[in-house]
């Protein structure tokens, strides 16, 4: 069953008099439990695509069906609920709350979902242990390395146990060794049944995925199945 289905999506930005076409007639679908990489050079529109997939932004035209629901027709609050419960985000810049402990960062989405304090702290502790940061729970982001911050971000993305994990250049700001560890975590998550979509411009990262969608100038250039994701 298709978990994500995008058809004829177009996104146009208006900056003053200049119209910039970021996405032009994009259509594809992603199955439940799939590990997909979206690859393209900078300015190709892949980040815009990620934002639309993550319900952070809405397409100018076209439809986006997520779990059978037409996302382009939802209200702002309904979109907030989708971001909270259906999708977990991992950003290139980590985007952790400054001066806030790892534990509180991980618990934040659960706060918005109304999970009681004891329960969300217990869950956040478990998630941090799972990503190997059991001894860093009360560290703030300035006390963590890039790789550790990204693991906190992954733990946060998992806190509402979402079906889909969206990662935008998750290894862009960390070392190669740490990047490998992060990608292993994503592979484990796929095995647990999460759908993973990763955006990157590095082919070495894309090989962890089962399928790669190449984007150029706002259009799909090609799709490649590499199958490595399940072999490891």
């Amino acid at each position: 069953m298709d978990q994500i289905s995008i058809s004829h999506v177009r996104k146009v930005y208006n900056t003053g008099d200049v119209e910039t076409v970021a996405l032009d007639n994009i259509s594809f679908s992603i199955k439940k439990g799939e590990f997909v990489a979206i690859v393209g050079p900078s300015g190709s529109g892949k980040s815009t695509l990620m934002h639309i997939l993550g319900a952070l932004d809405t397409p100018t035209s076209g439809t986006y069906i997520l779990d059978g629901q037409d996302v382009s027709k939802l209200s702002k609050d309904q979109l907030a609920d989708i971001r909270n419960k259906n999708i977990g985000f991992v950003f290139q810049a980590f985007n952790l709350l400054p001066r806030t402990t790892a534990l509180k960062n991980v618990a934040l989405p659960m706060t918005y979902a109304g999970v009681p304090k004891d329960e969300r702290n217990k869950k956040a502790e478990q998630l941090l242990k799972d990503v190997g940061l059991g001894d860093r729970m009360n560290h703030t982001s300035s006390q963590l390395s890039g790789g550790q911050m990204q693991r906190v971000a992954i733990a946060r993305a998992l806190s509402m146990n979402p079906a889909i994990i969206l990662a935008d250049e998750p290894t862009g700001n960390i070392s190669t060794v740490q990047a490998e560890e992060i990608m292993k975590i994503f592979q484990d998550l796929q095995k647990q049944g999460h759908t993973i979509v990763i955006i990157t411009h590095e082919p070495s990262i894309a090989v962890y995925a089962q399928r790669t969608i190449y984007i150029k100038d706002g259009k799909i250039e090609k799709e490649v199945k590499n199958g490595k994701g399940t072999k490891n």
């Binding site: 907030a80 001066r99 934040l108 989405p109 918005y112």
Partner: protein, 406 residues
């Protein structure tokens, strides 16, 4: 997310960046404190001026000879007319008006007063016993002029504390003799200092019986003024009417606009002084308005900057599933906490400041409730508005625009 959690997370956010919170709070503290201190001091000054006028005498009404200004007419100099007599004063007393409690006819001139080798040129006032009641005079030793002194035209004198110093160099000169226009007077009492200065110095004065003043010293048969105490503050106008019509009748004048005397009540003086202090208060209100504006702009700026700086945070919170309302409410609560905290601190600061200054420069200490309400209302309103408005604008952005905000 229930309200309690929202409140807790607002407090947490404020405590996370203590410097930012302290700076925003300081803007509010100074804005509110300055307004409260300035307006309170203005009101203290006004109260102080009113108290000094009140001290001139209780519910005083003064009748002076001379016509009131008429169109085309020429008003004589003060005290130059001779239309009021001792009999006028006696008639007012005899009429026993309920509105008037005391009647004090007075004559006054400057003259040479000597004691041994010392001499001084001071105000010589012919008075009756009613003078003490009407002008709040109290005795530090001896007695004031009595009815017997007046009826028997005795050569006795009551002197002010400054005269004691200039003529006798201190001590208690009761029983000693001073000479007024070479006529010897026995000192029977000394008044308590009233602390006036210059022209209105009530301490550099000699009182003698009004009859003695008229016949022996000045050689006149009129009085310079008749001062009266109204029986209460509310009966001042009635006192003016009662005594005024009686005098018109006695002077056989039918048209009140052609009266040969004029009346000034203490309420006239107070209203004149009030218009002066009113101007002063308006000035202070202007200063307060400017400090409110400056304080308000300061608060506005720091709140705007604080919230704009957190646009990325707003974007992140939204990306993680916070609804717009929740984000705006959290920022609103943060501004309210800041404003209440800063407002209360500013209030304490303003009150302390006006207390210290009023003690320092000897003003009565007053707290202006109006200023407190105004300052907290305006500054608080600005603080909350400019905490809420940019947060609302940031929350209206799509999460991705907010996240990308630099």
């Amino acid at each position: 997310m229930d309200f309690q959690e929202l409140l807790a997370s607002s407090f947490e956010a404020l405590l996370l960046n203590k410097v930012r919170t302290a700076l925003a709070g300081l803007g509010i503290v100074i804005g509110i404190g300055a307004v409260i201190a300035l307006v309170s001091l203005g009101q203290a000054t006004q109260a102080s001026v009113q108290n000094s006028i009140q001290g001139l005498g209780a519910n005083l009404v003064t009748v002076s000879p001379g016509s009131q200004q008429t169109a085309g007419g020429v008003q004589g100099g003060f005290g130059s007319s001779q239309t009021l007599t001792l009999d006028d004063a006696t008639a007012i007393t005899a009429a026993k008006f309920a509105s008037i409690s005391q009647v004090s006819p007075e004559v006054s001139r400057r003259g040479q007063v000597t004691a041994g080798r010392n001499n001084t040129n001071i105000s010589i006032t012919g008075a009756t016993p009613a003078y003490t009641e009407v002008h709040n005079v109290t005795m530090s030793s001896g007695t004031f002029i009595t009815d017997q002194d007046v009826s028997s035209t005795r050569d006795v004198a009551v002197i002010g504390p400054t005269v004691v110093t200039t003529l006798f160099g201190g001590g208690d000169p009761t029983g000693q003799v001073i000479r007024i226009n070479k006529i010897p007077f026995t000192i029977i009492g000394i008044t308590v200092s009233k602390g006036g200065t210059g022209f209105a110095n009530q301490d550099n004065i000699v009182f003698i019986p009004i009859t003695t003043a008229q016949k022996t010293v000045f050689g006149i048969d009129y009085v310079n003024s008749i001062a009266m105490s109204a029986s209460s503050a509310n009966s001042i106008i009635q006192a003016e009417n009662d005594s005024g019509y009686l005098l018109l009748q006695r002077h056989k004048i039918s048209n009140p606009t052609q009266a040969d005397f004029s009346m000034v009540s203490q309420s006239d003086i107070i209203s004149a002084a009030s218009s002066v202090t009113g101007t002063f208060t308006a000035l202070l209100a202007g200063i307060a308005a400017i400090s409110l504006l400056v304080g308000g702009i300061g608060i506005m700026n720091i709140m705007l900057v604080t919230v704009i700086e957190r646009t990325r945070e707003i974007g992140l919170r939204k990306a993680l599933g916070a609804k717009d309302n929740l984000v705006v409410t959290q920022f609103l609560i943060e501004s309210i906490i800041l404003t209440i905290g800063g407002g209360l601190t500013g209030m304490v600061l303003g009150i302390t400041l006006s207390y210290v200054i009023s003690v320092f420069i000897g003003l009565p200490f007053t707290i202006s409730i109006f200023a407190i309400i105004l300052a907290i209302g305006v500054s608080g309103g600005i603080g909350i508005l400019f905490g809420w408005y940019p947060a609302k604008k940031a929350a209206d952005l799509s999460p991705i625009e907010a996240l990308r905000y630099e």
